[in-house]
């Protein structure tokens, strides 16, 4: 091969090889032609008989979707059967005229027409789409009598999804909606196409989405003999559908309801978890929305209203909105100081009411300061100066390294879609976050703000509850989860969602005890004492206030600040103090001081969960009973 050749020789060899390639191609095509001849001529009789016999068609049977219930069995999502009028646009000559004629038989609102238009944009013309749902018996009868006049329009009995609790817990449950192109792509990718034949709804948000696989069930098939026109003549065999599994939650709907009502018109979120398992007892985000609106394609004006509302009802604040934690960060800072050895419990700081750093004076809430402050007192009176100095001593790296294992600034892995990460500030984070080099530098003054939970700190209420849960659970951090069991609808067989400890952080018992004791002190003698006056159980807590708007030099006077610029109000709590069964975080947007608006909500939640006490105005009975009585 190393022999040199002239260009002419090279060209001759190349053309020789082209000839070889041509011959091989001809041979291969010849082989194919032979195969076609064999199949289509020699074995034609055999195959045409088989094609004739091939008259068995598979018709899918859609499984019933699983139910969602709370921990006590209250149904949150269920199905009911009703008639729906469906139209196949490609089989209808004049769509508008057909709808016009239909409207003389059944009530068709402009809303229904608009929804059909929207569905047509999202689907293919040969799909059958609902023009009216939930027909009355009378409408059904009227249509059946006139059915021959409407080719391409069909009456179908279908199962509808229903959320009997309306807007309660809607952020948790989520909703289902019609399968669109994006869903279809996902289904095809996960090789589920066969199982979704005949299904036209899929979980779009919340648990309906995250447990789609369980809730959907397995599609059955009817083997039907068809005539040459494809119409079914005879049923040959039936493989019944396997209904979807029911999902039982760790959620306590009563607790959820009490908290949602306690929020009233205020915007905010609450997350309550069981520290020893990570099970979520309540996950509230207000305002909420009625998931029933989404089930059969939301009407455009409802959609616009939900989307343009400045209170953002579709936003799940509990897992998606991150806020600076304010002073609720202090117990974690204190634990960090003990764990890293930067402070001993007894070490006392003489608080003059401010801390000077780099030419800037960081102020305490109390003019003149709190006097001598040790760690216990720093939490009870929420002394800023103590934490300014501490943050400066620890340094930002050390703070970030301590906080990270507690889950701050990371997705918790809860079984809900759409969780936010939040921000655990560090020099490395700043480098990633900003583009210009002068913005990427970390300043020492920024560390000082981080120490009292302000600055770049931003955590979701879920992260706060999870971190508190880990501390009061002696350092064992669980992955939060809302589903408790998945129950086979037929056999009743339970699959438990096992609590999953993500990590164990090696805290010293004496350190945890001190933090817990100080937080109990907050509710006895400190900032939480008013909200928890007379509580018959021992409860630890911490108030917090997150600045929304920075007043340059001026003093913050709530009444003078526009409502939307007021501080966010935080409260975190656990109870009972000696063996906590619940840890929670409450946030009230623009609620002012933590003690004022967030702490009373926590009190109501704990009174119910620990004592079974139901506030006035809420039925003591099952809320489902109340709903259906209306």
């Amino acid at each position: 091969m190393t022999v040199m050749r002239t260009p002419e020789q090279e060209l001759a060899r190349f053309r020789g090889r082209l000839a070889v390639a041509g011959v091989v191609a001809l041979l291969c095509f010849g082989l194919l032609a032979a195969r076609f001849f064999y199949l289509q001529v020699m074995r034609y009789d055999y195959y045409s008989t088989r094609a004739e016999d091939n008259r068995i068609s598979l018709v899918p049977i859609v499984p019933n979707r699983g139910l969602i219930t709370d921990r006590h069995g209250t149904v949150l999502a269920r199905n009911y059967s009703a008639y729906t009028l469906e139209i196949t646009p490609s089989r209808v000559a004049d769509l508008d005229a057909t709808i016009e004629e239909l409207s003389t038989l059944v009530d068709i609102q402009p809303k229904d027409r608009r929804r059909l238009k929207k569905l047509m944009d999202e689907s293919k013309s040969f799909e059958s789409l609902p023009i009216r749902n939930r027909l009355s018996d009378e409408e059904v009868a009227r249509f059946i009598a006139q059915r021959y006049r409407f080719p391409g329009v069909e009456l179908k009995a279908r199962l509808f999804r229903d959320y009997p609790m309306g807007s309660f817990a809607s952020h948790v449950i989520g909703y289902i909606g019609r399968i669109n192109d994006r869903d279809l792509e996902r289904i095809e990718e996960s090789d589920d196409s066969a199982n979704y034949r005949g299904t036209d709804h899929i979980g779009k948000s919340g648990l309906e989405k995250s447990y789609e696989r369980d809730l959907h069930g397995i599609t059955g098939f009817e083997e039907v003999e068809v005539d040459s026109g494809g119409r079914a003549v005879r049923l040959l065999r039936r493989t019944p559908a396997i209904p979807g599994n029911n999902v039982v939650l760790t959620l306590d709907l009563k607790l959820q309801e009490i908290v949602e009502k306690a929020f009233g018109n205020r915007r905010g979120a609450l997350v309550a978890i069981e520290p020893s398992t990570g099970g979520v007892l309540a996950l509230v985000s207000t305002p909420s929305f009625d998931p029933n609106l989404f089930v059969d394609g939301i009407a455009p004006q409802d959609w616009d209203q939900l989307n343009t509302d400045q209170d953002k009802p579709l936003l799940n604040r509990a897992i998606y909105s991150a806020y600076p934690p304010g002073s609720t960060f202090k117990p974690f800072m204190a634990l960090g100081a003990l764990t890293t050895g930067k402070r001993t419990p007894g070490q006392t700081l003489a608080d003059p009411g401010y801390f000077n750093y780099g030419g800037h004076r960081f102020m305490d809430d109390k003019v003149g300061g709190h006097g001598g402050v040790d760690m216990y007192k720093s939490i009870v009176v929420s002394c800023n100066t103590y934490y300014y100095v501490l943050a400066n001593d620890m340094g930002i790296e050390s703070i970030a390294n301590f906080m990270r294992p507690l889950g701050f600034g990371q997705r918790s892995g809860i079984d809900l879609p759409g969780e936010a990460e939040g921000v655990l500030p560090s020099p490395e984070w700043k480098k990633r976050r900003f583009k210009r080099p002068e913005q990427q530098k970390w300043f020492g003054g920024e560390t000082i703000s981080v120490g009292i939970g302000q600055g770049y700190n931003a955590y979701t209420p879920l992260q706060m509850a999870q971190a508190l849960g880990a501390v009061v659970n002696n350092g064992v951090l669980y992955r939060p989860h809302i589903a408790r069991h998945v129950v086979d609808a037929k056999t009743g067989e339970k699959r438990t969602i096992e609590p999953e400890p993500l990590r164990t952080i090696p805290f010293k018992q004496s350190h945890i005890d001190l933090i817990k004791r100080a937080m109990v002190g907050v509710n006895k003698a400190g900032t939480g004492s008013r909200a928890f006056a007379g509580a018959p159980y021992e409860v630890g807590g911490k108030t917090g206030t997150a600045q929304v708007y920075s007043l340059k030099g001026g003093k913050y006077v709530e009444g003078r600040v526009a409502e939307r610029l007021r501080d966010h109000s935080w409260f975190i709590a656990f109870a009972p103090a000696d063996k906590p069964v619940i840890a929670l975080a409450v946030l009230v947007e623009n609620g002012g001081f933590g003690a004022q608006s967030a702490a009373p909500i926590a009190r109501q939640a704990l009174d119910y969960y620990l004592l079974g006490k139901v506030p006035a105005g809420i039925a003591a009975e099952d809320p489902a009973a109340e709903e259906s009585a209306e």
């Binding site: 191609a25 095509f29 001529v41 195959y47 094609a51 598979l58």
Partner: protein, 379 residues
């Protein structure tokens, strides 16, 4: 001013880069595809028209691009392709158990598609750069350039695409003069090996028998091919049904829109990989042979262009591109008629699917450019 608006001048501008015979053949194929699509899946005609418009634009641009420009794009395209494949291996999205897609924020791309063109382009460039001083060593380097992306694609795993990319590179080596002493033994071993598998199908397809180097699903595909009835409702279903469709078509077919296999939903993927079954069911042996003849004409036109190409680069590229068309056509018709295992290879210019159509038309455009520029480069 007037002459600029002259429609004849515009028409000339549009048609000048195109090669007459190739354009005619591609139009016949795409027209054939549209006719079959009316029967198989009429709601996709709009998208088909759009895909065709995009693919023809790409073809036109490629036809206007001189081969020298293509040559300078070869190595960068190859490098980008390989880097993307490495990115896929590290961060790719998993779909259907394979890691083939790369999410780049706005959309997802499948980098292996790029290599189908970049591979022959790069190897042709490499041999051009070594022209006149070619040694055995160069074939090893070229083989290395070939095996790196092929290995990455095979690992995804995507056996079908890795075979296509490997074939496209091998064709360049073959035309560059790879010695018969290497080709013949491999060919003989291959033929004997396939013969052995067919002969011993019953034994080696028993469950629990592992095939070295192949995954379970690949073994399954080969075994299903040997005996489709072993899995009548799963993978074998496709082959059984498409064979019935072809066989029941007879000599002249059941008629346009009258294929029972197609219209009673027995044919899987009837608008994409299995469109050939629709075509033969409705148009019979006559329709199938017509298609085969068009492909043969296309391939011979390509080989003719290669024979007349002025530089080593354009010769190798034209030869390899032509054989790629052959490979697509042969593998697809072979798998649908049940003589080759089912690997995801479309029927060139006929199967529905934008990416494949664009890739193929890009290849045709390159052939046209080589034909048009044959005299401009001094010989």
């Amino acid at each position: 001013m007037n002459s600029r608006l002259d429609p004849r001048r515009w028409l000339h501008y549009l048609l000048a880069p195109l090669d007459g015979p190739l354009t005619l053949l591609i139009l016949i194929l795409v027209g054939y595809a549209a006719v079959v699509m009316v029967s198989a899946s009429p709601e996709r005609l709009g998208t088909l028209a759009l895909n065709t418009a995009v693919a023809f634009s790409v073809m036109w641009i490629a036809a206007k691009t001189p081969p020298s420009r293509m040559m300078s794009a070869a190595l960068p395209l190859y490098a980008i392709g390989v880097l993307l494949l490495i990115a896929v291996a590290l961060f790719g999205d998993v779909s259907k158990g394979a890691r083939r897609w790369l999410n780049i924020g706005v959309t997802r791309i499948q980098p292996s598609e790029l290599l189908k063109i970049a591979m022959p382009l790069t190897l042709a460039w490499y041999f051009q750069s070594r022209e006149g001083m070619l040694r055995a060593r160069d074939f090893f380097i070229a083989a290395g350039l070939l095996l790196l992306p092929v290995g990455l694609i095979a690992k995804q795993p995507d056996l079908g695409t890795s075979i296509l990319v490997a074939a496209s590179g091998f064709y360049v080596l073959f035309f560059a003069g790879l010695t018969w002493r290497l080709i013949l033994p491999v060919a003989v071993v291959g033929i004997v090996g396939i013969g052995a598998i067919v002969a011993m199908g019953d034994t080696i397809c028993q469950p629990g028998v592992d095939w070295p180097g192949l995954r379970e699903y690949q073994k399954h595909r080969v075994c299903t091919l040997l005996d489709p009835t072993s899995d009548p409702l799963g993978k074998g279903f496709h082959i059984i049904q498409s064979t019935i469709a072809i066989g029941s078509g007879g000599v002249f077919g059941k008629g346009w829109g009258k294929g029972t296999q197609t219209h009673l939903d027995f044919l899987p993927e009837r608008h994409t990989d299995f469109i050939f079954a629709v075509l033969t069911e409705e148009f019979g042996l006559a329709g199938a042979l017509f298609l085969v003849v068009v492909y043969i004409l296309l391939i011979f036109r390509g080989l003719f262009i290669a024979a007349g190409a002025p530089t080593l680069f354009s010769r190798l590229l034209a030869g390899a591109l032509t054989l790629i068309f052959f490979t697509y056509a042969f593998v697809n018709m072979g798998m649908v008629s049940g003589i080759l295992p089912v690997v995801g290879v479309p029927l060139p210019f006929v199967s529905y699917g934008g990416t494949a159509l664009v890739t193929l038309c890009l290849g045709v455009g390159m052939l046209m450019s080589i034909q048009r520029h044959r005299r401009r480069v001094g010989t």
